[in-house]
């Protein structure tokens, strides 16, 4: 196979996610009553980046063939924490932001440590740690409240040069600073190898533990960035259980839409980001068609069901029935 075709096959998931997003985006903007304007884009991107950060973290963990069901709760915890510490003098604000991100990373590191050294299945382990993180969030904010430095918040949720939404710029920056180095490092390759076949990776002397630990910790950090941004948008902190678990489930849905294999070893965080953007646009699509908001959950569900069923066409091409069970 030629180099470029190989590369294309590798990027197919990401490309599909981008295509779905592009179609949704165009449909959305063509039908939006206010038309294609900087304001509309800003609102859209502000809503979508939250999920994009979580989906990116989830993708990192899923690539190592794990799963993190606590991302939504880390998101809630860092939201509550940020609403308490990101206030006061500029130094305090800076310190608060660092503390919030560190808390997110610490949650992820704890998940990683339990999965690696405790040898528990990630699906149950992160359900349990999720309960702990939600408890901590409740301890910080028993009732919704708190505040955040509004200058920083407005700066990061506004627009650059009057056109580009700052939140999208931050998202791109995070991709450049976190994802690209990870993908190109030995640890990143180890993460893919671990996801493909842990036993083979082990035999080849690949640093499995380091790869998993970095993946979980980074997922926590990204959830922390998401939580910080949530605080910037809402100016408050709230420990909402329903919202936390919804974000966890949405992050998995985005990852799947983004072409990341749930078995691990395939896909990219960029795909997951486009998956998240597409998922958010789907959710908003109904508003521009001026339908009853009551239809929104059903519409979102049906589109999600159709999107995941698309993957089933692969089974029609199977030549050997045993490949069903691969």
């Amino acid at each position: 196979m030629k180099d470029w075709r190989y590369w294309l096959a590798e990027q197919r998931g990401t490309a599909t996610a981008f295509a779905i997003f592009a179609v949704m985006f165009v449909v959305y903007n063509v039908n939006h009553p206010a038309g294609f304007s900087a304001n509309v884009i800003q609102t859209m991107s502000n809503k979508a980046v939250l999920l994009a950060f979580l989906a990116m973290g989830q993708a990192l963990v899923i690539i190592t063939s794990g799963i993190d069901l606590s991302v939504g709760m880390v998101f809630m915890l860092t939201n509550c924490l940020a609403s308490a510490v990101v206030v006061g003098s500029p130094v305090q604000v800076a310190f608060g932001i660092v503390a919030t991100l560190a808390a997110g990373a610490a949650c992820g590191a704890l998940n990683g440590a339990i999965v690696i050294f405790g040898r528990l299945q990630p699906i149950v382990a992160t359900i349990a740690t999720g309960a702990v993180y939600y408890g901590l969030a409740l301890a910080i904010r028993p009732t919704p409240g708190g505040g955040v430095d509004e200058t920083v918040a407005d700066a990061l949720t506004g627009r650059m040069f009057g056109v580009v939404p700052t939140s999208l710029v931050v998202l791109a920056a995070v991709v450049l600073v976190v994802w690209v180095p990870f993908r190109r490092s030995a640890t990143g390759r180890a993460a893919y190898a671990t996801g493909s076949s842990e036993a083979a990776a082990y035999m080849s002397g690949v640093p499995i533990r380091r790869a998993k630990f970095v993946a979980y910790t980074t997922a926590g950090l990204l959830a922390g960035i998401g939580g910080l941004f949530l605080t910037f948008f809402t100016y408050t902190g709230e420990a909402a259980y329903a919202s936390g678990s919804a974000y966890t489930l949405f992050s998995i849905a985005s990852v799947v839409l983004g072409g990341v294999s749930l078995v691990g070893g395939r896909g990219s965080a960029v795909g997951a980001i486009f998956g998240a953007l597409a998922f958010r646009t789907i959710g908003d699509l109904l508003f521009v068609f001026d339908l009853d908001p009551l239809w929104q959950p059903l519409f979102q569900g049906v589109v999600l069901l159709m999107a995941v069923s698309l993957g089933a066409f692969g089974t029609l091409r199977v030549r050997n029935r045993l490949d069903w069970f691969a």
């Binding site: 299945q121 149950v124 409740l138 329903a242 749930l262 089974t315």
Partner: protein, 317 residues
Amino acid sequence: MFNFARRFDPAVATAFVCLFVLLLVGSLYSSNFLSLEYLVQQLKVASFLGVAASGMMLTILLGQIDLSLPWTLTVGAMMSCAMASFGLGGEIFAVPFGVLCGVAIGVANGFGVAYLRIPAMIVTLATNSVAQGCMVLYSGGYSPRDFASPAVRYLATGFAIPGLPNAVICWAVIGAATIFLLKRTTFGRAIYGIGNRERVAYLSGVNTRRVVLAVFAVSGGTAAFAGVLLAGYASKAAQSMGDAYLLPAIAAVVLGGTSILGGRGSYLGTVAGVMLITLLQSILSVMQIPEYGRQIVYGVVIIGMLLLYGRGPRTRA
């Protein structure tokens, strides 16, 4: 004796020991924890989780998972309440209709998993949101009848046998059926076989796709039945009633020694897991620990117990 030793499962035994330790800790706090009344009450509360966990356990034994439990449960509750508003016939068919709606969702899940080969986590997530959408639409457009019929209330809170709540009997019946299914039928064998390696089960002549479809249908049915019982217990159906059951159901199955990777586990363990979760929640609320403390203790205890007996093997080639 030899037979007993061979069947002895350390995970199930540890789960039961944890159960006794939990009761002991509770009884140190208040002697009420050992009273028959309290224990029967706990058994009744546990039966809702127990019914829901039965189907969940079957899917986990396959190496799959059913994340559509929350809204399948709500669908069961709401549909049975809706059916009960159609006069006498409705009253009679309230429970079967609720369960049937759950089975329908389960069949959709099973079709996606077995025939379309989509990972269970994704299919069930999607059907869950479709079910949610339907229920939001149904209960939002106009206000439907949402209170349970007297018959359903009797099923959940009545006493057909003095001293033994009907809900517990329902759980016992479903539990006995599950044990029979797993231990005495080829269907049960096939479930364990598929959980260990679906490829091999297929090559051994098992119609694996049909088994997977059936298991998801059963799982949808039990989730919906738990919803019906819960509606009878609370005497009405509410939108978010299922949210509190998904994670405890998975936790109960796993704490009971069933491998989340499938193929290994016994129903006795699931019973222990359900009791563990219910007692833990009850003791934490009796001790009047604030909500945040309860969540933290809940999570820490689950991790602690899993570290005791749920650890996986070391990575080897």
